[in-house]
């Protein structure tokens, strides 16, 4: 404490109260603005070491327009100051300056109407936020229920349609094989259309059932250590038949010895077949599809690269959404359900892996997926 009185009131109790308890910021200033003394509230707000500092170092005055002398001359009743508080956040006080002998007493107080407004606004914003939060949860729950309903319906419809369409496909195939040259060419063409359409519908239904199962949370993975090179080789072998029909070559490269990878072999085969059949679908005769696999950071990465038309940048985000069609035109005679990559995406995510694509229009596309060697998925 300095050898002067911060407050002179002739009432020791009041002085003690103002010095130690009042929620008023009291600073005793020398004529040059140096802080000679401060009450407890001021030290609590600004910092314990404020005596000796200049008032200008305590207040935020970016434009440097405040002059203590001029303020006293003008006898300004109240002056707004933002004070740098110990929290680092400025706090606004309304100051009055009163001459006290040769020194000046600066009294800073909060505007209670401002504080009240702030409190009201905060309460109202908080209410609004929490009500929106409630609304969001409610809407989300409604969407989850609707999605479940959609999947249930999809699964049921697909299941009930599968048997009759399977019969149409099998019987049209039987007719094509058995009737031989007994039918005229036009009738044979009709049966061919029935056969290819029913085959497409059966594929679509299988994929719909897959999607419905996965979205209903029924992607049950049978995770086991698997020789992934053998798995890829087998998929490449099976797809070569299809590729050769289009005069497309498939090459598989891998340079390392691979440990067994923990995965669901049937599901990853489904992924490989899908990526390979897409690559074949979009490849021109005479082109090559490159399949490769490599290991890094406890992950295996597999890529399927084609020399097809490539995918425009704006279509890449749509690739994994069910039923989304890109602007890439399918070659004549090729069909797409728009579900294959959505299923592939969900299978890879189910393995806690990643899938991505690099593509350049006119040069081709490379699809990559990576899987952890040791699966974190609970077995």
């Amino acid at each position: 404490m300095n050898n002067h009185n911060l407050i002179n009131t002739n009432c020791p109790n009041l002085e003690n109260y103002l010095q130690n308890n009042a929620a008023l910021l009291l600073l005793l200033l020398a004529p040059d603005g140096r802080i000679i003394d401060a009450n407890k509230y001021a030290r609590d707000i600004v910092g314990q070491e404020i005596t000796g500092e200049n008032l200008s170092s305590v207040i935020v005055d970016f434009s440097n327009t405040f002059s203590l002398e001029q303020t006293l001359e003008k006898n300004e009743i109240s002056h707004l100051f933002n004070v740098t508080s110990y929290t680092g956040l400025p706090q606004t006080f309304y100051f009055r300056f009163i001459r006290q002998g040769e020194n000046i007493l600066a009294i800073g107080e909060l505007n209670h109407l401002e504080v009240e407004d702030l409190r009201k606004n905060l309460t109202s914003l908080n209410n609004e936020f929490s009500n929106l939060n409630r609304e969001l949860h409610k809407k989300n729950a409604e969407l989850v229920k609707l999605n479940d309903l959609k999947n249930h319906f999809l699964g049921m419809a697909a299941h009930d349609l599968r048997n009759p369409i399977g019969a149409i496909q099998n019987l049209s195939e039987f007719l094509l094989e058995e009737t031989g040259d007994k039918l005229n060419s036009e009738h044979t063409k009709f049966i061919n259309v029935i056969h290819s359409s029913s085959k497409y519908m059966l594929n679509l239904l299988d994929q719909l059932l897959d999607i419905a199962r996965i979205e209903a949370g029924k992607l049950d993975l049978d995770i086991r250590p698997t020789d992934i090179i053998e798995l890829i080789k087998s998929c490449v072998y099976l797809n070569k038949v299809l590729a050769e029909k289009k005069k497309v070559e498939i090459q598989f490269h891998h340079y390392e010895r691979f440990p067994d990878i923990e995965l669901d072999a049937m599901k990853i085969e489904q992924v490989m077949h899908n990526l390979l059949s897409n690559a074949i679908k979009f490849s021109d005769p005479g082109s090559t599809i490159f399949v490769s696999a490599f290991l890094s950071n406890e992950h295996i990465t597999v890529s399927v690269k084609d020399e097809g038309p490539g995918i425009p940048k704006e279509d890449i985000e749509k690739l994994y959404k069910p039923f989304s069609k890109t602007s890439v035109k399918l070659p004549d005679g090729e069909k797409s359900t728009g579900l294959g990559l959505a299923i592939v995406h969900k299978i890879i995510l189910g393995h806690l892996g990643k899938i991505w694509v690099e593509s350049k229009v006119g040069e081709g596309s490379s699809f990559y997926f990576s899987l952890p060697v040791k699966s974190p998925v609970k077995k």
């Binding site: 109202s124 908080n126 929490s130 009500n131 409630r134 949860h137 409610k138 989850v144």
Partner: protein, 212 residues
């Protein structure tokens, strides 16, 4: 059930403004599959009444009371995935506070109780102007309207709203409740036939069972 020691631990954290601890305690209870009724009545409602009482007897400041309310609003969200997953019966309720009523948490908890009981509980929030409330009733066509009143001095606003609601939707079942009725107004049903004062969440649940 909520044990006394857990209740006291939660209440202390609520008054200290320890949101993290309140979240943890509530999350643990939900993970242990506590009944939502117990959570709402014995923990949330009980602790808020306790905080309100401490404010009334000048033991805590209005700031502490508001902080406790905000924390409760925040921990309520932890129960939402369970609350909104309940099967719905196709019945709707609009729940609202009146104009100049800023205490909304009681009303919101009532809307959640409707949800827990298989109703759609639409909560309009604090300080809802009469016109907005009447528009919402027309839009949602609810099976029940629940009005929450926390300040006794707003009783005349309630009567004004009830008057208009009964004119525009004479068949609509209306219930009222809230802390304001501790000081009077429980005879609201005599002034507005068909309007029912519901003193507690338990009474609300009984009423909802009767209305199934």
């Amino acid at each position: 059930m909520i044990s006394e020691s857990l209740y006291n631990e939660y209440l202390a954290a609520l008054i200290e403004g320890d949101k993290k601890k309140c979240h943890k305690l509530v999350k643990d209870l939900l993970d242990n599959n506590i009944s939502l009724y117990d959570l709402y009545v014995h923990l949330f409602q009980g602790s808020l009444y306790h905080v309100g009482h401490l404010w009334e007897i000048n033991k805590i400041s209005v700031a502490t009371e508001h902080m406790a309310t905000s924390i409760t609003e925040s921990v309520l969200t932890l129960a939402y995935p369970r609350i909104f997953a309940a099967d719905h019966k196709g019945k709707k309720a609009v729940v609202s506070c009146l104009v100049n009523e800023y205490h909304q948490i009681g009303g919101k908890m009532v809307a959640d109780i409707f949800e827990i009981n298989g109703w759609d509980g639409y909560f309009l929030g604090a300080n809802t102007p009469k016109k907005e409330l009447l528009n919402m009733i027309q839009e949602k066509q609810p099976d029940m309207l629940a009005l929450s009143l926390s300040i006794y001095f707003n009783m005349n606003s309630l009567y004004d709203v009830l008057n208009d609601v009964q004119k525009s939707s004479p068949e609509l079942k209306v219930i009222v409740g809230g802390q304001a009725f501790r000081w009077g107004g429980r005879d609201v049903g005599e002034k507005f036939p068909g309007v029912e004062y519901v003193p507690s969440i338990k009474d609300l649940e009984t009423l909802l069972l009767e209305n199934e």
